[in-house]
């Protein structure tokens, strides 16, 4: 029998995450929007609230709660600030290769400090020559003694300027079919974050470029098997990366619906709240239907993931559906607000901008369809 209900404990996780978002994140949103920077206080609070520890196994100082609990947390945080949800989502994506492929030494060295929130993580795959096609990347490595020498540039990297450890994918200088994933630490010689992006939405999360110029990386920092780095990166992106975007999308979608219901009940036209108008009700119902469907897709995928089942195809469906649905919901929310929806005083204007940034990360909707079609045809 399939059980579609959350456990009492999961409901309590939701409550904890909601309280955290409402008390520690909400009042920092205007500042993040204004400065277009991640808030140090929010990053610190995320650590203190154990949000970085969720997916890290207990033996390495984490909570070992798995991916359903993580989705619950991301959903609640993103409802208040998608930018913060995004920062946390990429954090978990960045450390997943260490959890899945790291050596015992690497796990002991990094995971406890990451779990405490003392270190912030990220992942760097995308480059100007390779986003949807990660094999097109040009960042390269060559072996020199016991070290690797890394050269190249990465773009659109979340937490680029604030991360302490970054999982970086690079290509063998001599063999275009061989890739390695490395743990790069802030301050390593030859590595520096360069340009900071100004984004349409999710302004409160830091996105930027990284440059590697003869950056020397000790071989202890190689993740997984030499030459098999593409698998390391794609395994993490396939479920943790897509699952994280589902959390961001669901949170934003729920926020759009909540704001719309509130406005529709308060806005009086023709002597009555506009929530009495059938056209408005239709929009609200559409938003609710997609939210319910998206939740089912998302939590189905995480429950499979928690059971150790292969779930990347299910995540592709959930990621496609929820990010597209959140965009539609944001548009409807702005529409319901009339002229007010175009004003920055109303959160829905931010939701609309944020919703357009949900798409590309962890693979565009087109790429999700490519994956889903491959699944169907296989």
């Amino acid at each position: 029998m399939i059980d579609f209900t959350f456990t009492e404990e999961q409901e309590m996780f939701r409550k904890a995450a909601r309280e955290f978002a409402e008390t520690k994140v909400a009042d920092k949103v205007p500042e993040m929007e204004e400065t277009e920077k991640a808030s140090d206080e929010v990053v610190k609070a995320l650590g203190e609230a154990e949000m970085m520890a969720l997916t890290i196994p207990e033996e390495y100082g984490g909570l070992g709660l798995g991916y359903t609990a993580r989705l619950i947390a991301l959903e609640e945080i993103s409802k208040v600030s998608v930018a913060t949800g995004m920062m946390l989502q990429i954090f978990a994506l960045g450390i997943e290769p260490i959890i899945q492929f790291g050596s015992e030494e690497q796990k002991k060295k990094y995971l406890p400090a990451l779990a405490k929130g003392e270190l912030l993580a990220s992942v760097a795959v995308t480059e100007a020559t390779g986003g949807s096609d990660p094999t097109g990347i040009r960042t390269s490595y060559r072996k020199e003694g016991n070290d690797y020498i890394l050269n190249g540039r990465k773009c659109f990297i979340t937490n680029s300027h604030i991360a302490d450890t970054i999982t970086v994918l690079a290509k063998d200088e001599e063999n275009p079919k061989a890739f390695n994933a490395f743990i790069v630490e802030k301050g390593m010689e030859g590595f520096k974050p360069t340009r900071e992006e100004h984004k349409l939405g999710m302004r409160g999360c830091n996105t930027g470029e990284l440059a590697f110029e003869n950056c020397r990386i000790p071989s202890e920092n190689l993740l997984g098997v030499e030459g098999k780095g593409m698998r390391v990166a794609l395994a993490a992106i396939g479920d943790v990366g897509r699952g994280g975007m589902v959390g961001c999308a669901l949170g934003l979608h729920a926020a759009c619906l909540e704001a719309s219901v509130k406005f529709a009940n308060e806005r009086i036209l023709y002597g009555k709240p506009i929530s009495n108008l059938q056209t408005i009700q239709n929009k609200l119902a559409d938003m609710k239907i997609d939210l319910e469907a998206g939740r089912l897709l998302g939590y189905r995928a995480t429950s499979m993931q928690d059971k150790g089942m292969r779930s990347s195809n299910e995540f592709a469906v959930a990621k496609y559906f929820t990010t597209e649905a959140a965009q539609k919901a944001a548009k409807m929310a702005v529409d319901i607000h009339g002229g007010y929806g175009c004003m920055e005083e109303y959160a829905v204007s931010r939701y609309l901008r944020d919703s357009f940034v949900l798409g590309p990360s962890a693979g565009t909707s087109d790429i999700m369809k490519v994956i889903i079609a491959r699944w169907v045809l296989s």
Partner: protein
Amino acid sequence: MLKIVVCVKAVPDPKEAHKIKIDPATKILTRSDVPFVLNLVDKNAMEAALQLKEQLDAHITILSMGPPPADNIVKECLALGADQGFLLSDRAFGGADAYATAYTLAKGIEKIGPYDVVLCGMASSDGSTEWVGPEMATFLKIPVVTRVNEIVEYDGEWWKVKAGLENGYRLVRVKLPAVFTVTRDLNTPRSLTFSGIIKARKKEITQWGIDELAVPEESAGQKGSPTIISNLATIDSKRTVEIITGTREEKAEQLVQKLADTGLI
């Protein structure tokens, strides 16, 4: 070891208060689909207990009377850091007023065993009588201090607390065991944490009914409640709009006059 009992109540979520309706015939609140949450000021009582536990060797017991779903809020207190929980739940406890509630809670406290301090919120957001604390103390035959907003001295048998009055405060020295009802000014309650929730997995909630408590049926629930509610009504708060016209000066003058007429200024 300081043995603390914190009494907490599950109340309808104030955020969904608009869904609560009054049955015109029975004068009973219908709160069917409104979820239960921990009464707001009980969180301050809980926080006080946790702060005491951080500074002294203390053990925290949670006690609540309510329907079975109220075990949620007991669990929440365990996740916040309490050590054990008791839920007094029985059909016979239903419809209790402050008096019957205080009596049942007092029976629960006696059954739990020796205690030094009983903490509870000043009032519940749904009943708001402020009686349960003092009545419980009366049944337990121990002193009570109501509306505590600071625990000044707490090392030893005699405690000193600051308690609110309408136009000032009282400094009260009281010998334990005692009941304290607390206000929201006492502290800032902490939030739930994921690790606290995990730790609560191992903590137990014991449920007691009327038989376990050995409360006579005529003293429990509605039967044991002397309170008679003569009327209960929803306040209608309609807004009206009036447009004032004229020059700027005339409008200002009229506005001031109207505010003065209503007694607002």
